[in-house]
Amino acid sequence: MQLTKSEEKTLDGEKGEVCQKAMEILATLGDIYNADKLIEIQSVQVAGVSYKTIGDAGIEFLNDMKGEKVRVPTQLNPAGMDLEHWEKQGVPKKFAKKQKQILEIFKEMNINIKCTCTPYLTGLPHGYGQHLAWSESSAVSYVNSVIGARTNREGGPSALAAALIGKTPNYGYHLKENRKPDITIKVEKELQNSDYGALGRIIGREVGNQVPYYILKSKPNKDELKGLGAAMAATGAVALYHIENQTPENSQFKKPKNTINVTKKQIENEYQGSKENIDLVALGCPHLSPNQLKTIEKLLKNRQTKKETWIFLPREIKNKMQNTVQNITESGAKIITDTCMVVSPLEEIGFKKIMVDSGKAATYIPSMCNAEVTYSNLKECIEVACNEN
């Protein structure tokens, strides 16, 4: 990869050890993937925030990266707990101490410590054709596909490096030729809400890191697209998809001949688990949008939850929608921000069987939280939450 004179100097250590290390990470990735140069980016979203996922090694790495400030607007992925109400959430003190340490380091770097997997709902700059370096796999999928911005799937250290330098290597999904669809997906059934997560799980497993081109009988809304992309990035490594007549780049490429047909039966088979012995109903993976929160408010109106019910969303949306939040909490459900059911230490808190309406959460909970999972749609989740048995 060709570096400018000033980038060379940064690599040689003229701007200090932290920037040198950041530049080394970017240059190495550029060399591996044959990037021609570094390009400027509009914003960064950094993964590797929860103490549960990065451990003490992550803290050591972040400590060594202290002393420099980020050069572009930067937000974080969910942490391992609600930063204000972690005690109520049942998070162990030792975990909380380490988690706060991590957040302090990010704060010193001038990173906005909005911890969310939906940074496109919380003001992180992004737009059609803009270059970004985002980490959270579902946010990468959303911003590439639904918005038409350009980002690769960044790991924690490479996203942080991009934030400190303000640039990223020009390869992968930054280049138009890599954004063309590889495979057509035809779906026979009209879909709604969690069906999109079910579809995403099927296609993620089938296509790995290819770019799917969907032909659908129904027109998904933005929240449904969010769920589709999140599930594909959980069972596979899909960073970008197109939907015929809908997503912004769909008409720029030829439809791939290679086709996968998805049947109604296949979608139905993705739902799993019984409604018996649920000890936690967890909603908001990825974090809820204002519309989704409103829907939950309606479903919970004049009802009381009988089971632990946790609803995950960005702190910013909680603050903006105080009436809705109050109505929901009056039902007994708890609003939790800054974290989610996948990266918080649910196994330490002691939950054994968790019910979700998210294809992504359904995929990760068994392995990351050592719990059984029941996957259904939102209405069913609310029914179970309000049911005594």
Partner: protein, 138 residues
Amino acid sequence: MKIKGRGITKGQAHGEILKTNQEISFLGGVDPNTSKITDPNHELLGQKIKNKILVFPGGKGSTVGSYVIYQLKKNNKAPKAIINIETEPIVAVGAVISKIPLIDQINIQKIPNKGKAKINANKGTIETNQNQNQNPEK
């Protein structure tokens, strides 16, 4: 015997070879405190990678794997160098932040299973003192 590949991270090293034809997931596959391979399905299960010239096809698994490599380094349990067929970002970033010499684009079949190797990742070269008996066709 001298083999040439692509130097990914810089540095030089000299040490004993530890080789596998299976990919390695550092998260969940390697104990950062002991350097032992802990993946129950791995052919190197129980072996320590500390101070070895670690030869494997490439990495797999979570991006948190980069942080595991870093922890190995901080605990003085890291391999001296890494050789891959095709490196991927998790291992590459782990090697960068831990300053471990890394070379890829190597046909690892050419590297003996035992013995010592001398690595120059600045030039992308690997030298092995291959035993004639092990490789009579040479």
